[in-house]
Amino acid sequence: MRVVIASGKGGTGKTMVATNLAWLLAKIGLRTTYVDADVEAPNGHLFLHPVAVTSRRFSSPLPVLVGPLCSGCGACQRFCAFNAIVAAGDKVLVFPELCHGCGGCVEVCPESALHERPRESGTLLRGRAGRIGYQAGHLDVGEPRSAPLIEALLEQAPREGVVVVDAPPGTSCGAVAALRGADQVVLVTEPTPFGLHDLRLAVEMCRKLGCSPSVIVNRCDLGNDQVLTYLHAEAIAVLAEIPFDRQVSAAYARGELAATGHKPLREAMRAVVSKILVHDVDVDRAQPPGDLHRVKGVCP
C-alpha cells in the first residue's frame, strides 16, 4: 500500500508528517518504507538517520550526434516536441535540460546519425532507519527535470507493506510523478490564505489524476478557518488537525522524530494511521490496532 504525503504549498509539514507517520507504522509492526521523493530538497534523512545507505547514479538517455553522417535535414528538430534539438547546418545542438529522453529523434533520423548515450542527473539511495526501510532520490544541482528520477525511485519501491512517499511540493511534473500509483493521497496544509490557495491547486491536481485526497491541517490553531470551510464544502476528509507547538518545532530543529516524545503529535499520527490503513495491507507479523477502518482513495 502506497501513501503519498503531498501538499500544494511548501513548508506545510510534509516531511514532518511523512517521517513521523513512517515511524508509527513501523512501531505498530507494519513493514514500512519511507521514500523521499522530494528529490530537489530531500531532507527525510535528517529525521530518520538512515544507516547502511547505498547509492547508485541515475541516468536517462540523451541523443548525441555520431560521426559525420548528419545531412542537416532537420527531421530531428521537427520531431522534437520539447524544442530540445536545433539542427544547424551539419551540426545538431541538443539541449539536455529540455530533452525528455523519448528517443524519437533517433528513430526519425534518416542517416542514423543520432545515438543515445546515458546522461546522469541524480542519485538513488537506499538504507535502513531502524525498522523503517529508507529510499531517496537526490537530483543533481542544476537539473530542471525531477520526474524521471522520481519515476525510477518509485519503480524500485517495495510492493509489500506500507510505503510512505514524501512528495515534492507544488503541482508540477515532479509532484504528479510522485502521486502516480498512490493508494492514498494525504495533502498537508496550513490554515492561511497561501495554504488555501495552493491546497486548491493540489486538490485539483489530485482530481485530474483520479485520486480523492484527504487532508492534514498542520498548525491548525494559527491563521483562519477558510481552509476548513473549503474542505467541508468540497467534502474532503480531514485526517488530523495538528496544533502549533513549540516543542514539536524544537524537536524538528534538532532532527528528531517529534512523535516519539510528544504525545499530542503521536495521537494525531495515530488518528491518521487509523484512517488511512486499508484491509489489504501486508500485515506479516503485524499487530494492527483494532480501530482501523477502511478509507478508499486510489490514484491510478
Binding site: 528538430q77 520539447f82 524544442n83 530540445a84 534539438i85 536545433v86 539542427a87 544547424a88 551540426k91 545542438l93 539541449f95 535540460e97 529540455l98
Partner: protein, 119 residues
C-alpha cells in the same frame, strides 16, 4: 542579396509597434529587408511553447534566412542556438519602437551580444 533582420515586437504590425524585450517568448517578429525597408510581420511560433521557446524561436528565424535579430534579452539556450545558427544578436533598450531600434541598429548605436559558450 538583401540583408534580413528580425525585431521582437509586442504584436503583429508595422515599424511603429513597440519592441518586446523577450526573445523566445515574444509574440511576433518584424522581418525587415535592410535594403528596401520592406517589412513582414510574422507570429512567433514558439511564443506559447511549454518549454524551449528560445531554441524554437531561434530555429524559426534561421529558417526564414534572418541575418541578425534585435531584442531586449536572449536566454542562454536561445543564445547558444542563435550563435550556432549564425544569427547575430543585438540588444536594444526597452521602450523603443521597432523603427527606433532599427534606426539605432543601422546607425551602429546598438550593442551586439558577444558570443559566449555556456557549457
Amino acid at each position: 542579396m538583401s540583408t534580413r533582420i528580425a525585431i521582437t515586437v509586442q504584436r503583429l504590425g508595422e515599424l511603429e509597434e513597440l519592441m518586446d524585450s523577450r526573445f523566445g517568448r515574444t509574440p511576433a517578429f518584424l522581418l525587415v529587408e535592410v535594403g528596401t525597408r520592406a517589412v513582414t510581420a510574422v507570429d512567433n511560433p514558439a511564443a506559447a511553447a511549454v518549454q524551449g521557446a528560445g531554441t524554437a524561436a531561434a530555429a524559426s528565424l534561421a529558417k526564414r534566412g534572418v541575418h541578425a535579430v534585435i531584442s531586449g534579452r536572449f536566454g542562454p539556450k536561445a543564445h547558444e542556438a542563435l550563435a550556432a545558427l549564425g544569427v547575430e544578436m543585438w540588444t536594444a533598450p526597452s521602450g523603443l519602437t521597432a523603427r527606433e531600434a532599427l534606426d539605432q541598429y543601422l546607425a551602429g548605436g546598438l550593442q551586439r551580444v558577444v558570443v559566449e559558450v555556456f557549457r
